[in-house]
């Protein structure tokens, strides 16, 4: 059965009754209860789907040592606090909150439950019992940008963003930096739609961009709507985000960035079980396998695949970093000198666009 906020309460009630069966019998082998808070549904075929795949991997790896629950469709805001508290009260000892906007709630609830470990995805706020984790999606975006730079005929790409937060800005910048290494005139237009999931609006945003001359589209929202429009309009293409979306756009998906959260979830749960967990930021990428590049689409020529794979390998072996200078900002002024690489802290607070981005009005 699928858990949502409604039948979570029922299960909470059932779980509360379990100790009546004799707590001693359970004490020896009591599994670590792990909670997941998701901003959308596990069936979105994107972001939340990826996290659920990670949850399933965790169950598979640690077996009886863990027990997992998840809550879907939790809005970013006060509701999140309530859900976190519910999970804590029903015995979760490790809770993953998987959306940027959950950050404030996690910090607040974690103060009230010092014995419980919280991990917040894509956030930046930590405390004694709150760690953060993320994936270097921008490494994948550099691969996509390379493909876009080779394949775009107009040299103009569009980017549907949810909100202008560092995670999204970083992705836009990595994409266009990589594309401009191939085509120095390449430009990208971000359109923010102020939501993670409104397929009709994502589709209309894609139409608006295509009507105005872009022929490659990327998105940082949770579903495949933009790719479907790319397929319908027959433009050069777009990219799967969070998962392979080729079912929705068999010709238009050029490649995809796949999130592979499983290893992090398994490692973290094991650390909590062993008592070795400590609050830190975990930010692996292509090299660790947490970010993967999916299969290339049928329209991508072999030389483009080779170029993209070279960028991928360069990031895996550490010889290439998309955020190494010289990098100019969108006004053309030098922002990062030659040879200097941006630090993680600088990336996580990125609020400026590189050259080639046409900043939103």
């Amino acid at each position: 059965m699928t858990l949502n906020r409604r039948n979570l309460l029922k299960i909470g009630g059932a779980a509360a009754a379990l100790p009546l069966l004799g707590s001693k019998a359970f004490a020896q082998t009591e599994p670590l209860k792990v909670g997941f808070v998701l901003v959308g549904t596990i069936n979105d075929n994107g972001w939340n789907y990826g996290h659920n795949q990670g949850r399933l991997y965790l169950e598979e790896q640690l077996g009886d040592a863990v027990e997992t629950v998840y809550v879907e469709n939790v809005p970013e805001g006060p509701d999140c606090e309530r859900v976190l508290r519910e999970l804590a009260q029903q015995g979760c000892k490790l809770i993953f909150a998987t959306s940027f906007g959950f950050g404030d709630s996690v910090i607040k609830v974690a103060e009230q439950f010092p014995d419980i470990v919280f991990e917040h995805a894509t956030g930046y706020m930590r405390s004694a019992n709150v760690g953060t984790y993320n994936a270097r999606f921008h490494e994948g975006r550099a691969v996509c940008g390379t493909v876009a730079g080779h394949m775009s005929k107009t040299g103009k790409a569009g980017y549907i963003g949810s909100f202008p937060i560092p995670e999204v800005v970083m992705g836009i910048n990595a994409f266009v930096l990589a594309a401009r290494k191939v085509n120095p005139d390449f430009t990208i237009t971000p359109v923010y739609i102020s939501t993670w999931n409104d397929p009709a609006k994502e589709a209309d945003a894609a139409r608006a961009m295509i009507d105005q001359g872009i022929d490659v589209i990327a998105q940082h929202t949770d579903g495949p709507a933009a790719l479907q429009v790319a397929e319908e309009r027959g433009i050069v293409g777009g990219f799967g985000q969070g998962a392979d979306m080729s079912a929705f756009a068999p010709n238009a998906q050029l490649t995809s960035i796949i999130d592979n959260w499983g290893p992090h979830y398994a490692k973290t749960a094991q650390a909590v079980i062993d008592g070795t967990w400590e609050s830190k930021d975990s930010w692996p990428g292509l090299a660790e396998g947490e970010v993967e590049i999916g299969a290339y689409g049928p329209t991508v020529p072999e030389d483009v695949v080779a170029a993209a794979e070279a960028i991928k390998q360069g990031q895996i072996d550490g010889s290439f970093n998309i955020f190494t200078g010289p990098i100019n900002d969108h006004t053309g002024a030098e922002k990062v000198p030659a040879g200097v690489t941006l630090t993680d802290a600088e990336l996580l607070s990125m609020d400026w666009y590189v050259e080639g981005v046409i900043p939103p009005a």
């Binding site: 959308g40 979105d44 359109v191 009709a200 609006k201 209309d204």
Partner: protein, 309 residues
């Protein structure tokens, strides 16, 4: 702005406006009968998942539209039974219907979200839509023409037919209508069913007209815009048409302005985003200046009918 871009914008605006227009037309008839059904968003979601499942399993778009309408009617009948037969509070029941529809559609849609379908194709042969002007006139699917025809049908029904007169009488003065022998509850059941069917079809527009997939809550609040539009249009079908297209235009132009390029970007995206609210304020001011229009709401709106004799 080139002609091509202008045409493209018109086509996108028509698409964005259509589900709002269809849902609002249904709600207009419901409210004209004296019932306020705030469950439009929920009924739309039920229609969206019904339409998706049918088109996914059978590939027949018209059957999908038909059964989405039926699903909308089924959802609306829950509301009708509670509010009309049991005199439950209409506001609260309507809100509950939206919550129910959201949850039910999510449950029914499990396993369908990673499945693509195809959009409903244009009604007319493609040759008619090759010229830009032809595309504006003939480039749409049947749902778009249906919405436009229904504006006229609803207007004609309410203004010109005896049944429409009875429906309005029930909405304006249920006791009088009852005392001269009309079934207030029966008329309202019929009106709510019509509203449910329209909301169901409006929901089906999402997977069939706008984006060929199922995603939970994919109507994303447009049912509420439809409810607001009825007031905005002061319960007049042709004003509703204008209102739906105005909202569609504003929602779409915001995206075109953000996507930039040429004269469109001269208007800041923030101003586009604020325009629905500015337009609402302007219209409310205008209708309050015209005294008759502000009192255009059906007199019995949202009042339960309890026969006095």
């Amino acid at each position: 702005m080139t002609l091509g871009l202008a045409i493209a914008i018109i086509v996108t605006v028509v698409g964005a406006s259509t589900p709002i227009l269809i849902a609002a037309l249904g709600e207009l008839v419901v409210e004209k009968s004296g019932v306020l059904n705030l469950g439009v968003e929920g009924m739309m979601l039920v229609g969206a998942i019904a339409g998706f499942v049918i088109v996914f399993t059978t590939g027949n778009h018209y059957l999908a539209i038909l059964l989405a309408a039926a699903a909308g009617v089924a959802a609306s009948m829950i509301f009708a039974f509670l509010t009309l037969s049991l005199s439950a509070n209409q506001t609260a029941t309507g809100l509950a219907l939206t919550i129910f529809g959201t949850g039910f559609s999510a449950l029914a849609g499990q396993g369908y979200s990673a499945r693509p379908v195809t959009l409903l194709g244009p009604l007319f042969p493609a040759e008619l839509a090759t010229h830009p002007v032809g595309r504006v006139l003939f480039g749409y699917s049947a749902l778009v023409y249906f919405s436009l025809i229904m504006v006229f049908v609803v207007w004609w029904f309410l203004k010109k037919t005896r049944a429409g007169l009875i429906l309005r009488a029930v909405g304006e003065n249920d006791q009088s209508a009852h005392s001269i022998g009309y079934s207030v509850i029966g008329v309202r059941y019929a009106a709510v069913a019509f509203g449910g069917a329209m909301a169901g079809i409006a929901g089906a527009c999402f997977p069939l007209l706008l984006t060929p997939q199922w995603a939970e809550r994919m109507t994303a609040g447009r049912g509420w815009i439809a409810v607001a539009l009825v007031v905005f249009a002061s319960w007049k079908p042709f004003r509703l048409l204008a209102g739906a297209y105005l909202f569609g235009l504003v929602m779409t132009m915001e995206l075109y302005a953000k996507a930039g390029g040429g004269p469109l970007s001269a208007i800041p995206a923030e101003l586009w985003a604020a325009m629905p609210y500015l337009a609402t304020v302007v219209v409310l001011v205008l209708i309050s200046i015209r005294r008759d229009a502000s009192s255009n709401a059906p007199a019995c709106l949202s009042r339960p009918f309890l026969p006095s004799n």
